[in-house]
């Protein structure tokens, strides 16, 4: 029967061409939509690697010419005063590259046995607790690290897997800085599992944390981890303490969670719009398919009558019509797949190949399911045609 259906389709290639074209373009468009959606949703499903709930950020402006000793004393006092608040769980300092800010510090070189690229984060010893990091190997920074021979670094698991796969990584030395000499070796002391500070929808990238003591004037952002359901006046209290200690008012307090939500909205919007366009397209394709099938069946009533007379059962008739439309659909998908396969093969965009393959599978699945649904009712109606009547309609 398959051979018979293939023969019929081939002999009716001109009639099937438009349907094939419709499937071809529907697949291409769905592939585009789902590549974007799959890429983003797979990224979304990998953990951020740090907490956003109950973490507040305070941006302070420390002038470059400020006295280091004064700044250090002020920061220590600030830390003592803030940690003394009963609703504050922990405090840490970082530079101004913070989650969801859009800022990035990046370096890379090929001066080791491998080539790499990494984002750099600068934190003190308290960030593990404040940020809620999850270390899979080694340890986070400690105050003693300021005295170590090699600058200590904590790297992300992706960086480890990319450059030290299968090798022990703790206490390994490598040259981090592009301009570094032999003395610029850094030592890996720990590995965190994830750290997607650019946003929930971004893919994983290599991250290297470098250490700065909390008193350093490089670190001008304060992370404050507060207890669940903080009182409404906590922000005012924190604001007043910072203002009185730093003698400044040019700082901003915000929550990391609100920044996460704002950042994510930028991706949710296009996902929703694209899925809406995809849905509209699917409805149009469904209506088209339904119409074509209905028309075909009405035009082929005498043929249906003939087949029934020759011994076809009702289910043979249904299977034939579903089989024909499925074959045309599969051809359309195969031709389309030839083009879509070029995306992963030629690495046209910076998207993981697996996302293209998922998008192809989802698009093919949706189109096949749609065709089956649209073919089901007309094919059943075809099976119910009375051969005695249909044979006299020629």
């Amino acid at each position: 029967m398959i051979k018979h259906i293939l023969t019929l389709i081939w002999n009716k290639k001109k009639k099937n061409f438009l349907l094939l074209l419709e499937i071809f373009f529907a697949f291409l468009i769905l592939f585009g939509v789902f590549t974007f959606v799959v890429e983003n949703m797979r990224n979304y499903n990998t953990p951020l690697g740090f907490d956003t709930e109950n973490v507040w950020l305070v941006y302070t402006e420390i002038p470059g010419d400020a006295d280091s000793t004064e700044i250090a004393e002020m920061k220590l006092l600030l830390r003592q005063e803030l940690i003394a608040l009963p609703e504050v769980e922990s405090i840490s300092y970082s530079n101004n590259i913070t989650p969801f800010s859009g800022s990035a510090w990046q370096t890379g070189n090929d001066r080791n046995d491998f080539e790499f690229n990494t984002r750099i984060m600068q934190h003190d010893e308290y960030y593990e607790e404040t940020g809620g990091l999850n270390l899979v190997e080694g340890r986070w920074f400690s105050p003693d690290d300021a005295l170590s021979k090699y600058d200590p670094v904590v790297i992300s698991k992706q960086f480890r897997d990319q450059c030290w796969k299968g090798k022990p990584v703790i206490d390994s030395l490598f040259i981090l800085d592009d301009e570094g000499e032999v003395s610029d070796f850094v030592k890996i002391i720990g590995v965190v599992d994830h750290f997607k500070y650019m946003g929930e929808f971004t893919s994983e990238y290599n991250v290297t944390f470098i250490y700065e003591p909390p008193t350093s004037k490089e670190l001008n952002t304060i992370y404050i981890r507060v207890k669940d359901n903080p009182s409404p006046n906590l922000e005012e209290t924190i604001n007043n303490r910072i203002a009185s200690i730093s003698k400044r008012n040019d700082f901003v307090i915000g929550t990391l969670e609100s920044r996460r939500v704002r950042n994510s909205r930028k991706t949710w919007m296009p996902i929703t719009i694209l899925l809406g366009i995809g849905g509209f397209l699917i409805i149009n394709v469904a209506l088209g398919l339904f119409g074509v099938l209905w028309y075909n069946i009405n035009k082929r009533r005498p043929e249906i009558g003939l087949r029934r007379t020759m011994g076809a059962t009702k289910s043979d008739i249904s299977k034939q019509f579903i089989g024909e439309i499925l074959m045309v659909t599969i051809f359309g998908i195969l031709i389309s797949s030839f083009f879509t396969l070029q995306f992963p093969l030629m690495k046209l965009f910076d998207i993981e190949n697996i996302n293209y393959y998922y998008a192809m599978l989802i698009s093919a699945g949706i189109i096949l399911l749609l065709v089956l649904i649209c073919a089901f009712y007309p094919s059943r109606q075809a099976a119910l045609i009375n051969p005695a009547i249909a044979l006299h309609e020629d």
Binding site: H4, L306, G311, H392, D394
Partner: protein, 221 residues
């Protein structure tokens, strides 16, 4: 072979009831060539459809080969039609999108027969009707007589015991009509195939073993 006893057929709509066949009883013997004649609308095709199990009588009993049709359900009726009955129509009913040989293979698609055997059987049937050289042609490339010969090949490809022909020469000129009639007579004589033919042509009917006339749904002779 085919026994019809008091067969009636009534077509009902919401407002009208039409009596197409009125208590027709016919006994057709194995190997017989029977023709049915009558004016248009007298119920000839309805009778043939009932014999071909593509329409059901409203009343009466029908048995073919000793089996009552009441013993069959939808699937087994389809199987019976496929294995025991061959159909020839006035308007040929060839599928224009299939080649001659693919058209002839059609009844074998609904049997468990490999494509190789199918092709072999179709070629043999086309040899019998003298169209082996037209196998790859499409119906649109054939004359009316050739189309009907393809239809005959399709009817005999499954080696049925009974052929039901509904005005097989109705759309053909007398020369082609005679050619088709000769093929049917040959099948009846050489293969001992039982043939029931509906016709308007007295000359063709005279060539058959027996003639039955219908008028207003009733058997006249």
């Amino acid at each position: 072979m085919i026994k019809l006893k008091n067969i009636s057929k009534i077509y009902k709509t919401k407002t009208v009831e039409t009596l197409a066949l009125n208590s027709v009883s016919i006994n057709i013997e194995e190997g017989e060539f029977l023709s049915i004649m009558g004016p248009s609308g007298c119920g000839k095709s309805t009778l043939l459809n009932i014999m071909g199990l593509i329409d059901e009588p409203s009343n009466g009993d029908l048995s073919i080969g000793g089996y009552s049709i009441d013993d069959y359900n939808g699937k087994s009726i389809a199987k019976f039609r496929n294995e025991h009955l061959g159909f020839i129509f006035q308007s040929f009913h060839l599928i224009n999108d299939l080649s001659v040989v693919d058209n002839v293979e059609l009844p074998l698609l609904y049997r468990k027969v490999s494509s190789k055997v199918r092709r072999q059987m179709a070629e043999e049937a086309l040899v019998k009707v003298g169209l082996k050289n037209r196998m790859k042609h499409f119906p649109s490339q054939l004359s009316g007589g050739q189309k009907q010969r393809v239809a005959i090949a399709r009817a005999i490809v499954g080696k049925p015991n009974i052929i039901l022909a509904d005005e097989p020469t109705g759309n053909l000129d007398s020369v082609m009509g005679n050619e088709i009639m000769d093929i049917l007579l040959g099948l009846n004589e050489e293969e001992k195939t039982t043939i029931v033919m509906v016709t308007h042509d007295e000359q063709m009917a005279k060539k058959t073993n027996r003639l039955i006339r219908l008028f207003d749904g009733s058997q006249v002779v």
